[in-house]
Amino acid sequence: MGDDLTSGGPPMGSRRSRITGQPGRREGTRGVTIAVVSTAVVFVAIVFAVTNSPYWPEVKDFFFNREIFLDSLPQVLAKFRRNILYFCIAEVFVLGLALLLAVMRSLRGPVFTPIRGMAIIYTDVFRGIPTILVVYLLAFGIPTLQIPGLPNSPTFWAIVGLILSYSAYVSEVYRAGIESVHPSQVSAARSLGLSRGQSLRHVVIPQAIRRVVPPLMNDFVALQKDTAIIAFVVAVPEAFKQGQILKAASFNMTPLVVVSLVFLIITIPMTRLTDYLVERERRRRQSGSAV
């Protein structure tokens, strides 16, 4: 369908169209040219202005030192594996706990008022406290008490903090999904003799999860980044902490720029994937809106 529109343009036409903000739409060769040229001009101007500013050599050496960069990259990457591990552990629990909270909150009827109330208080409290504060309270607080039967590892409690905080956010995402499933779906399920719980499990939740994958991915990205909070409160050698150590040794910020880049390697593809999923969901809804 779009063949006749893009065939006249340069081979990179479809890629360029993202920059114009109109993927796959007409604009033609002329639009692409304008986009390329104006972008190039702006970039060159910025680079020229920055590199010719009076303090650029100092800035460059302090943030973008080539040797320190190459030296710290493998060390930071090695420690980044821990961030990924913490992220994976936390994410599994977040997805489970958040779904439980969302279901608790969607229960109807006076019998469930206390359960619903508990879920509401939980989300209000943990969404309202800065994540770093929750992590700090748990990681420094609980190990100090030396309570028998409870783990004393600050890292353990830091991850628990992340899970508690993010579950509150993610449960709201799930809840939006559950509420977006049309009541007629529940009517259909109940009319077949399915119980309330069965309707929720087999009809509502599968559809809800499908719809909230894109916003869930956004929270994935945020959680991935916030694994760095653990370094702030606990002396655990993950990427951020490693960057701080290297920075202290070299009196140079470059290692922390390296840490930033390493995070971007993960988060940018995830963000793009999220955009893609949002777009796909949008198209799917537009084409399937007949029912």
Partner: protein, 248 residues
């Protein structure tokens, strides 16, 4: 004849709006009953009350002699024996056609998956849909979707089928295939209560017709009586409007 369904003094209000104002109705086994009346006259609400999807404010409903409006009744069990098909199909979009049909038999009746699927295939074949078993609902036409919805309700082996304006959301050329399915069901002796605007169908297939007006049953009789010599003025007016609209 045994009585499949009896409704007495049914009242239902949504906030300020009183939708049902004392409905009495009795349906024998193997009988096909049509509910006609203007939009908002309470046809759908009546069917939803019978299926217990809406809780009646007052009145009693007996299904095969059992008072299903009594407290402590297992509503899920009642719904197993009373199937309902909706105007907007309400198929489960995330499941294949076959899974739509087998969900309730496997989860509610605890039938083994293989047995439920065999039966599901048989039902779909009967409705001419077996080649669509592995498709998702959004790949089907409206008429096909509605027939899947009928198959899904039939899979629970209901004693009574409630059909809530099931052809109203269909393109005209798709209505016939759904009505044919209903004719077949009627011929096999299924007890059916239809809320419908298909007067031609009501005249051909129904044993009795109820005319609802503002939440009450205004007139009841054989299709012959209702369509040829309606007694009530409101019924006459309604039928004149229908004829003027070319629906009969």
């Amino acid at each position: 004849m045994t009585e499949a369904l009896r409704v007495e003094g049914l009242h239902k209000r949504f906030g300020e709006l009183e939708v049902l104002r004392g409905v009495d109705l009795a349906v024998d086994e193997h009988e096909v009953v049509c509910l006609i009346g203007a939009s908002g006259s309470g046809k759908s609400t009546l069917l939803r009350c019978v299926n217990l999807l809406e809780q009646a404010d007052a009145g009693t409903i007996w299904v095969h002699g059992q008072d299903v409006t009594a407290t402590g009744v297992n509503q899920n069990a009642v719904r197993e024996s009373v199937g309902i098909v909706f105007q907007s199909f309400n198929l489960f979009p995330h499941m294949t056609v076959l899974r739509n049909v087998t969900l309730a038999p496997t989860r509610v009746l605890k039938q083994p998956r293989a047995a439920a699927e065999d039966r599901g295939h048989a039902l779909l074949r009967r409705l001419g849909l077996d080649d669509k078993a592995d498709e998702y609902p959004d790949r089907l036409s409206g008429g096909q979707q509605q027939r899947v919805a009928i198959a899904r309700a039939l899979a629970m082996d209901p004693d009574i089928m409630l059909l809530d304006e099931i052809t109203s959301a269909l393109d005209p050329e798709l209505v016939a295939e759904v009505l044919d399915t209903l004719r077949e069901l009627a011929a096999q002796g299924m007890t059916m209560i239809l809320a419908t605007h298909e007067m031609g169908f009501a005249r051909d297939v129904a044993n009795r017709v109820y005319f609802l007006d503002e939440g009450r049953i205004l007139e009841e009789g054989t299709p012959e009586q209702i369509f040829s010599s309606p007694k009530q003025e409101r019924t006459q007016q309604f039928l004149e409007r229908i004829i003027a609209a070319g629906r009969m």
